[in-house]
């Protein structure tokens, strides 16, 4: 077992543990912190796959901006364990079984899926570097890029309009 595999399994464990903690923890603030840990682990996965640009964007946009926004809203509403609404036990059980069945079906369907190559390159290939991504982004994908700026503008206007009422 070399260092890459050890890192892979470590990051996988952190990601899955964080995700489980998001779903199970009673206090919403702990959920947010666990989700931040999950995003850090996913960024580690991106670095392992040599997608450095996406790793950094994931850290800045998700772990930085979005989760801080969640934390602000939760603290603004003063949510904690006492105010946390609880579903009844049977509904929780039914939801868990439904999700587990979903996982089971997809794993069973995709276990034997064959593709031309079965390995994802680790640590080589420079498609994930910002130079190549930037060239593709501003040549072939320049129109979606500009449209996304319009999307941001409309989202900003929408948030302000919704928050002003």
């Amino acid at each position: 077992m070399n260092i890459t595999e050890i890192l892979f399994w470590l990051l996988t464990a952190v990601a899955l543990g964080g995700a489980l903690l998001v779903v199970t923890s009673k206090n919403p603030v702990y959920s947010v912190l666990a989700l931040i840990a999950t995003f850090f682990a996913l960024s580690g996965h991106y670095i392992l796959l040599n997608a450095q640009f996406l790793a950094v964007v994931n850290l800045i946009v998700y772990a930085g901006a979005i989760m801080v926004l969640f934390l602000f809203v939760i603290m603004l509403m003063n949510l904690n364990t006492e105010t946390e609404p609880q579903k009844n036990k049977w509904l929780k059980l039914a939801g868990t079984i439904a999700g587990g069945c979903f996982l089971l079906v997809l794993v069973a369907a995709l276990r034997d899926a064959d593709s031309k190559s079965t390995m994802a390159l680790i640590g080589e290939g420079d498609t994930g570097l910002i130079q190549n991504l930037g060239k593709a982004l501003f040549n072939e994908y320049v129109i979606p890029f500009e449209i996304s700026s319009v999307l941001f503008l409309s989202a900003m206007v929408g948030a302000v309009v919704l928050g002003k009422k």
Binding site: L16, A120, G125
Partner: protein, 113 residues
């Protein structure tokens, strides 16, 4: 790493997100579980991007060093859309909290009757 491991990891993360949406009543937690599902898809897209790069680097194939760059740009655009979605969604949740003083989604049943 084998692509299967990435597929299973992404599936597990996605299923945990689904379970969260089904079992929780706090609107903010449900929203966070949706973010979790988006991130599972992102991870899978990046892994497949590197798999296609491995395809193009295999002996005998035409070398295409920009193979798989589309997938990474898709991930970038998913992140952009997710950021826009979060701003509007959180604004809606704040407005809901102002109206009914709770973030419990079970109170939003006025359409039922």
């Amino acid at each position: 790493m084998p692509i299967n491991l990435y597929i299973f990891l992404a599936l597990a993360l996605f299923s945990i997100g689904v379970i969260g949406v089904l079992t929780r009543r706090n609107a903010i937690i449900i929203f966070m579980c949706i973010e979790l599902m988006l991130n599972a898809v992102n991870l899978l897209l990046v892994a497949f991007s590197k798999m296609h790069l491995a395809d193009s680097m295999a002996p005998g194939a035409a070398p295409m060093l920009t193979n798989g760059i589309d997938a990474q740009l898709f991930v970038f655009f998913i992140m952009v859309v997710a950021a826009a979605e979060v701003t509007v969604g959180l604004a809606i949740i704040v407005m809901m909290y102002r109206n009914i003083h709770s973030v419990d989604v079970n109170f939003l049943n006025r359409l039922k009757n």
